[in-house]
């Protein structure tokens, strides 16, 4: 590894579509030249780490930040492994550059497991270069040196700061990743501690820049009106009147364009067809929003959606009476269901469409410069996106631009939750920019944001099960009724195969029917899991009651022996980890303790995103069906925690988000039009309803996995199970506001 030639090696992380990650050494002539070029007079130890001679350590955050805390967590891993003192670290957002940083995306709670090894490789590589520099400067063997507290320290006690070593360190050979060794986790001083978000100061001062805050010289502002019924196109509009309004510079129709929805990356569903509509460009945001409110558009609705929620429900109820179309799992259940000594229960569950309502509405800024005879066309994009690199494909499909012609800047996001994994608003901004001189920022209104969402899909499950006279679950017959686009299940609809009923339950038959729709659907914080958990974990509680058994004991018995359901697969359920979190949540919540009048406790467990999580809700219900969640006790096993403060925040946030959603939120549509327009009709929980939340981590020795999503799914069934315990009333449909229960 001391071979001078290896300094020319270029560390490059690239993601595999499976979610795995490999490190490559690129030795091609071009990369070699590029790597050397960046090293001359540079502070750069690798693409993620720079050290100045004054000792300031800059770590680049390559994964987009939307509130999940990854901009703090990943740099912590690098700093830990290189022996940096966290106080010396400044974190900056990296450029969007897939050649340098691999896949820069955030979704599926995968950023920690996908990047952990590459981050500590970057940290260890930087550390070895600093140690190499110190070895040279002190003329001692590198085995006698260690990196700690932003210093390299010799056995003798002699020490050199990282800053003093910086110039020499960048000239050290880049180590072969295969030769790197990593810190013993017992020696960690940063990983596992509670570290505040790196942007907190900027946020509380109002200086952190979100996408909507982008401001570039000579920027125009744009608004875009789509047909209120999805899929309609604009024929004409009151163009003269609109152009005459103050601050309006231009107004024009955009035709729909399916090309912007064509993606070469099949594992991401992040591109969407440009919807037809009317664009307004003006001098400031208010001018274009004001003009938009005065638009009179004649729409062609011949191809528009006719989806209606009431009709979907009627169709689902019809299908519930039939056996499912597709058989996902086929254990014989008929005999047990027909056995007269068994107790049989049948229940129909329902969950609504919901919106993302990221606090920052969708927006995108684009500067397009058309090419001339002597210069190539160029585009620069500023976008709050969960997968910012993917927007280059839209520029290619829409305007024929190559990757090299497009520069993408990722901004902090005011929430993501899966919405910012779809880039319909980027296609709109690019199409508007292509007709606008200079840069232009498209801002959606809240109503645009709700109407044009890629919703968490609604759905239904018809459940039937039998318990034996001994109280054992002997048959489970689950019929999922979901939604599809042209026959293909939309994201979040249907069962994926790793659900509890699909993997762990004995004697289970699982079938699925799909109803074709046009309504846009997308990933919404723990897609699939956030609705299936409600059905599965509520129904299991119903069965424990039917069997006359304690819920905790009933669930643990179902887990059976402690084992991985799929060996060596971190994404499979481990029944031992499940049992441990169920028992811990129950113990910490005082499960079984006497509750005051009107109070009940409810439990739910769910496994998704490689996380085992159990939650117990303490809920009070008064005579008027006002309900208050007093406390939620959470037990989590996602392996070792990287940032304790961030991890607690993610769990608390998921509980609040989950409660707000299950208690208050529903999107309905009538003949293709979304019925909710703004926050007055689509409520978010307010401060007074916030429960106490107690979080307990089991830091098992398994790989660290993500926590952005998986604490949300168990919340809804824990609350409805608690309401049953308090009142004897079973809730099989969300939101609770539609079931006569008011969150207070």
């Amino acid at each position: 590894m001391n071979n001078v030639l290896t300094r020319r090696h270029f560390l490059k992380a690239s993601a595999l579509t499976s979610g795995g990650l490999m490190l490559e050494i690129t030795l091609s002539g071009a990369a070699l030249g590029e790597a050397l070029g960046t090293l001359v007079g540079s502070k750069e130890l690798n693409a993620w780490v720079q050290i100045s001679s004054s000792g300031e350590i800059t770590i680049y955050s390559s994964v987009p930040e939307m509130g999940q805390g990854i901009k703090t967590a990943l740099p912590m891993i690098i700093a830990e492994e290189m022996g940096a003192s966290w106080d010396d670290v400044t974190v900056l957002t990296a450029d969007v550059d897939s050649a340098r940083y691999g896949l820069q995306g955030a979704g599926g709670s995968t950023s920690i497991p996908r990047n952990f090894d590459s981050m500590r490789t970057m940290g260890a590589s930087a550390r070895e270069m600093l140690i190499g520099a110190a070895s040279e400067a002190l003329e001692v063997d590198r085995a006698e040196l260690e990196a700690k507290d932003s210093q390299v320290i010799h056995l003798s006690g002699e020490r050199l700061s990282f800053g003093a070593l910086a110039a020499l360190a960048v000239r050290q050979p880049v180590p072969d990743p295969a030769t790197l060794s990593f810190k013993d986790p017992k020696a960690y001083t940063i990983i596992g501690t509670a570290v505040g978000g790196v942007d907190n100061l900027g946020i509380v001062l109002g200086q952190s820049k979100f996408g909507i805050d982008v401001d570039v010289p000579n920027m125009r502002y744009a608004a875009y009106a789509r047909c209120p019924r999805l899929g309609g196109t604009a024929i004409n509009f009151n163009e003269q009147a609109i152009r005459a309004l103050p601050g309006v510079l231009d107004a024009f129709i955009l035709a729909p364009d399916a090309r912007t929805g064509q993606s070469s990356m099949s594992f991401l569903d992040g591109l969407a067809a440009l919807q037809g509509g009317v664009a307004i460009v003006g001098e400031d945001t208010w001018s274009v929003l004001n003009a938009k409110s005065q638009l009179l558009v004649v729409w062609d609705e011949s191809e528009a959606s006719t989806d209606s929620w009431p009709e979907m429900k009627i169709e689902a109820q019809r299908l519930a009476g039939m056996s499912g179309g597709e058989v996902k799992r086929d254990h014989p259940v008929e005999a047990a269901l027909a056995e007269p000594n068994n107790k049989v229960l049948e229940a129909f569950y329902e969950f609504p469409y919901v919106a993302h309502v990221c606090m920052e509405p969708m927006n995108c800024t684009v500067h397009y410069s058309a090419g001339t005879t002597s210069t190539a066309a160029r585009m620069e994009v500023w976008v709050p996106s969960q997968f910012p690199g993917q927007v280059k494909e839209i520029a290619k499909n829409l305007l024929g631009l190559s990757e090299a012609q497009v520069t993408v800047n990722m901004t902090r996001m005011g929430g993501g939750f899966g919405r910012r994994a779809v880039h319909d608003f980027v296609a709109e901004a690019m199409a508007i920019a292509a007709r606008t001189e200079g840069p232009v920022k498209l801002t959606w209104t809240r109503t645009d944001d709700i109407h044009q969402d890629f919703f968490r899909v609604g759905g239904f499950e018809n459940m039937k099960a039998a318990v034996s006279p001994e109280g054992k679950l002997v048959a489970w017959d689950q019929h999922y009724i979901g939604f599809a686009h042209q026959g293909k299940a939309v994201i979040g609809s249907g069962l994926w195969g790793n659900e509890f009923s699909m993997t762990a339950l004995p004697n289970a038959r699982v079938t699925q029917s799909l109803i074709d729709i046009k309504t846009h659907c997308g990933a919404w914080r723990a897609p699939g899991a956030n609705t299936n958990a409600f059905v599965e974990q509520s129904f299991l509680h119903e069965l424990s009651v039917l069997a006359g058994r304690d819920h905790v004991e009933f669930l643990i018995e179902l887990m059976g022996e402690r084992r991985w359901l799929s060996d060596g697969n971190i994404n499979a359920l481990n029944t031992g980890r499940a049992i441990d979190v169920i028992q811990l949540a129950a113990t910490k919540a005082g499960w079984g303790k006497p509750m005051p009048a009107g109070w009940g406790q409810g439990l739910a467990f769910y496994f998704c995103h490689a996380a085992h999580i159990a939650e117990v809700a303490d809920v009070y219900v008064d005579a008027n069906q006002n309900f208050k969640v007093g406390k939620v006790t959470v037990a989590v096993d996602v392996g070792p925690i990287i940032n304790m403060s961030g991890a607690i925040s993610q769990v608390q946030g998921a509980i609040i988000d989950g409660l707000s959603t299950m208690a208050l939120q529903q999107i309905t549509m009538t003949n293709g039009r979304i019925n909710q327009d703004n926050f007055d009709q689509y409520q978010v929980m307010r401060i007074g309803a916030t429960p106490a939340i107690e979080v307990h981590f089991i830091q098992s020795d398994y790989q660290s996995t993500g926590l952005g999503e998986p604490a949300l799914p168990p919340l809804a069934p824990a609350v409805t199970n608690a309401i049953f315990a308090a009142t004897g009333q079973r809730i099989r449909s969300m939101p609770l506001s539609q079931e006569g229960f008011t969150l207070v």
Binding site: M66, N200, Q207, I212, C358, G414, R446, Q652, I687
Partner: protein
């Protein structure tokens, strides 16, 4: 178009505008004070909260012609290099997640504390009921622990990206 004199964070500004343009967009697009956020445009979410004469108002529905007094935005809350105690508490308790609603939360809480330095839980719930957040619990604690905090000298690194 009419001419308006505004005092924002102690500085005087002259601006021309349609009389019905909400203060939010004057602040954001004309004065380039981007800390005050757009969230709904109908005074439901509180992301646009600023102070006028010290009181919390929703700038998304307040036309510029209706502004009658000095304005403080999130950018003006820290004074003379000192963070407002709420800003210190927010950092101390690692309150923000995505951070988008936080300026509005802090401005609502600061207006309450200015007239009610020792609020009860019920006072806090009332004062903060106009502010939406999808995820944050910690601002509850941030607001409740505020009495324990002293103003601290602005420190740490702030990078403009």
């Amino acid at each position: 178009m009419q001419t308006y004199q505004l005092t924002v964070n102690g500085e005087s500004h002259t601006t021309t505008s349609e009389p019905d343009k909400p203060l939010l967009w004057i602040l954001r697009d004309q004065l380039k004070l981007k800390g005050t956020k757009y969230g709904c445009g109908i005074a439901q979410c509180g992301a646009c909260t600023v102070h006028i004469n010290g009181a919390a108002v929703r700038s998304c529905v307040l036309p510029i012609s209706g502004v009658s007094g000095p304005i403080t935005t999130i950018e003006g809350l820290a004074k003379n290099g000192l963070l407002h105690p709420l800003q210190s508490a927010w950092i101390e308790h690692d309150v923000p997640q995505c951070g988008y609603c936080q300026a509005g939360q802090i401005m609502s809480a600061a207006a309450m504390l200015a007239v009610n330095p020792r609020p009860t839980d019920a006072d806090i719930d009332t004062a903060m009921a106009g502010n939406y957040c999808r995820v944050v619990l910690m601002f509850v604690f941030g607001a409740r622990f505020i009495q324990l905090q002293e103003a601290i000298v602005l420190k740490g690194r702030l990078k403009h990206e």
